[in-house]
């Protein structure tokens, strides 16, 4: 009863936060701390799969774990879901220690593993009912919870279908329905859009945004645009370590910073000397990063470059810090 009352307040408070937008730092500090991970470490024998991972998540946030395959994303999410014990470190879900009091902590967690955990011999309704029982949804609320989860995941018509006959997209939907049907405060999704077609990907993204209105979501992906599309916070993992953490609303493209590609590139000083250009930096034989003085328009730069006869091929806003870090990792991987 106590728990329910608390949850009700959280949602109302959260509703306000939702309307005011994510940027309000004051509100986010006031919000409940859903997940706090400190100095998480995981070893497999000698192999260090995860080291010194710190994460924070509050209600209304979507945290993206980004990294190439084998970076430790799945290991991290398995630990957060309680399927794997950490070698060292602390995981708290709504203040409850996941290692010391796993049953109490897990009541607030919904988890979609990399492969949706479906029993092929069951039908959708049967399966979701079983999951609701496992998550200790009371008998009174069970039918309601199942039908709500089904309608949120676009499964309203699929109740009688056997899980063995479902397409990949539907299997994923059932997997997500299973993770959210007990209305957990923390939803953990391991590569939720992996292998889906573009329409399905959009549906899943909408669902995640919808979920974030009432709870915290943590998801993993190795695709950058995927994370940029839905997440409010991102953590880049590589070789089990956190390389970069950022809030995406702060990670705006550098204002007045552009990448230009020229057919007949002039020497760097010529470019720097152009009116309105604050600085320029060479990125290769024909590419430059150009920073404009405040108030200067890129159209002006384009006109000047054309007038100089540089053969302007490309003029694009420069990427964000996040993009640079991510592509640096990928570059490093490919070079290795």
């Amino acid at each position: 009863m106590n728990h329910k009352a608390r949850r009700g307040r959280g949602q109302r408070r959260n509703g306000i936060v939702h309307w005011q937008g994510r940027a309000s730092a004051v509100w986010s500090r006031a919000m409940e701390k859903l997940l706090s991970v400190r100095a998480l470490e995981r070893r497999y024998g000698e192999h260090l799969a995860l080291a010194a991972v710190d994460l924070r998540l509050t209600r209304g946030e979507v945290l993206g774990l980004l990294g190439p395959n084998g970076a430790g994303k799945t290991t991290c999410l398995q630990i957060l879901s309680g399927n794997l014990a950490p070698t060292a470190g602390e995981v708290r879900v709504l203040g409850v220690d996941l290692v010391r009091a796993p049953l109490r902590a897990k009541r607030n967690i919904g988890y979609l593993p990399e492969r949706p955990p479906l029993y092929p011999d069951m039908r959708v309704d049967e399966y979701l009912d079983y999951c609701a029982r496992l998550h200790r949804v009371s008998r009174r609320r069970r039918a309601d919870a199942v039908s709500r989860a089904k309608s949120r995941c676009g499964l309203a018509e699929a109740g009688r279908r056997p899980l063995a006959k479902l397409s990949k997209g539907y299997r994923q939907r059932v997997g997500i329905a299973q993770a959210i049907l007990h209305e957990p405060d923390l939803v953990i999704l391991d590569e939720p859009t992996e292998g889906l077609d573009p329409v399905q990907i959009r549906e899943v993204r909408d669902l995640i945004r919808d979920l974030a209105a009432t709870c915290g979501v943590i998801l993993s992906s190795h695709i950058l645009p995927e994370v940029q599309a839905v997440c409010s916070k991102v953590v880049i993992l590589s070789d089990g370590r956190v390389l970069h953490q950022a809030r995406l609303d702060e990670d705006a493209p550098g204002l007045g910073r552009f990448r230009v590609k020229l057919l007949r590139a002039p020497p760097l000083p010529v470019l720097t000397a152009l009116p309105g250009v604050a600085s320029a930096q060479s990125l290769g034989a024909d590419s430059f990063r150009v920073t404009l003085r405040p108030g200067e328009a890129p159209a002006q730069l384009a006109r000047l470059l054309v007038e100089q006869g540089c053969g302007l091929m490309e003029l694009v806003p420069d990427g964000t810090d996040l993009e640079r870090v991510f592509f640096d990792i990928l570059g490093g991987e490919q070079a290795a």
């Binding site: 995981r42 309680g82 796993p102 049953l103 967690i109 955990p117 200790r136």
Partner: protein
């Protein structure tokens, strides 16, 4: 929570063809054995009969049913945990607010229900004779109890084997290995002899034998209870270690 999981396992067992095929095969073989015992018994002169009908059935049919259970139970149990590991469905249970003990007991009770169905087959056949023959119901009860307890112990061994790997086939082979070892470990070769060594005590058939004679001894009850608990505890240990990786 234990019941939820047990119900799910029972349902899965009854929905899969394997469960029914095993049940049918058991019934067919037992029926053959039953008829053979009856034929031999009714063919004998009264003077040559060394034991009553119920005792003949108990020593032949019920002990044979135990041997069949040794073959069938590992096939029923092999997928219970290793199949979940292989299909990745164990993470559903692992992320739910359910303890490993509850998961294990749920699986065990589901399996126990299937074993119970199988263990009742010889009793049902024998009761068919109740109309025409004078049966010793006490002996039948003891024999069925012994068979049931043996089946439960096999189920615990099977679950433990299933917790070892993500390969159901391997789990079945390990279960067979353990159960056959526990069958042949007795050194005397004569069941029911009084002076039992440790090795005799370890083998399940020594203990089942007393039930088949109609003797329910506390030490035999203790043996089955102990071994069932022991293998379940090993399986629990194994699941906990799996989480530690």
């Amino acid at each position: 929570m234990i019941l939820t999981i047990a119900r799910r396992e029972l349902q899965a067992g009854l929905l899969s063809p394997l469960g029914w095929v095993l049940l049918a095969a058991n019934q067919l073989i037992l029926a053959w054995m039953f008829l053979r015992v009856l034929e031999r018994f009714s063919g004998l002169e009264a003077a040559n009969r060394s034991a009553g009908l119920t005792m003949e059935l108990s020593l032949n049919l019920f002990s044979f049913a135990a041997a069949l259970a040794l073959l069938s139970v590992p096939l029923l149990s092999m997928r219970m945990l290793s199949g979940e590991f292989r299909e990745g469905t164990f993470s559903l249970l692992g992320a739910a607010p359910v303890s490993l003990g509850e998961i294990l007991l749920g699986k065990f009770f589901g399996l126990a229900a299937l074993v119970t169905l199988m263990g009742l087959l010889p009793l049902l056949m024998t009761l068919g004779l109740a109309v025409t023959a004078d049966l010793d119901l006490g002996l039948l009860t003891a024999a069925t109890l012994g068979l049931w307890l043996t089946g439960l112990m096999f189920a615990a061994v099977g679950l433990f084997a299933s917790s070892l790997s993500a390969q159901p086939g391997l789990a079945a082979v390990v279960a067979y290995g353990v159960l056959v070892l526990l069958s042949v470990v007795s050194r005397t070769g004569v069941a029911g002899s009084e002076a039992t060594t440790l090795f005799d005590w370890l083998s399940w058939n020594e203990h089942l034998f007393w039930f088949l004679l109609g003797v329910v001894r506390a030490s035999d009850l203790l043996y089955f209870g102990l071994f069932t608990g022991f293998f379940l505890a090993l399986a629990h240990r194994r699941l906990a270690n799996r989480r530690l990786g």
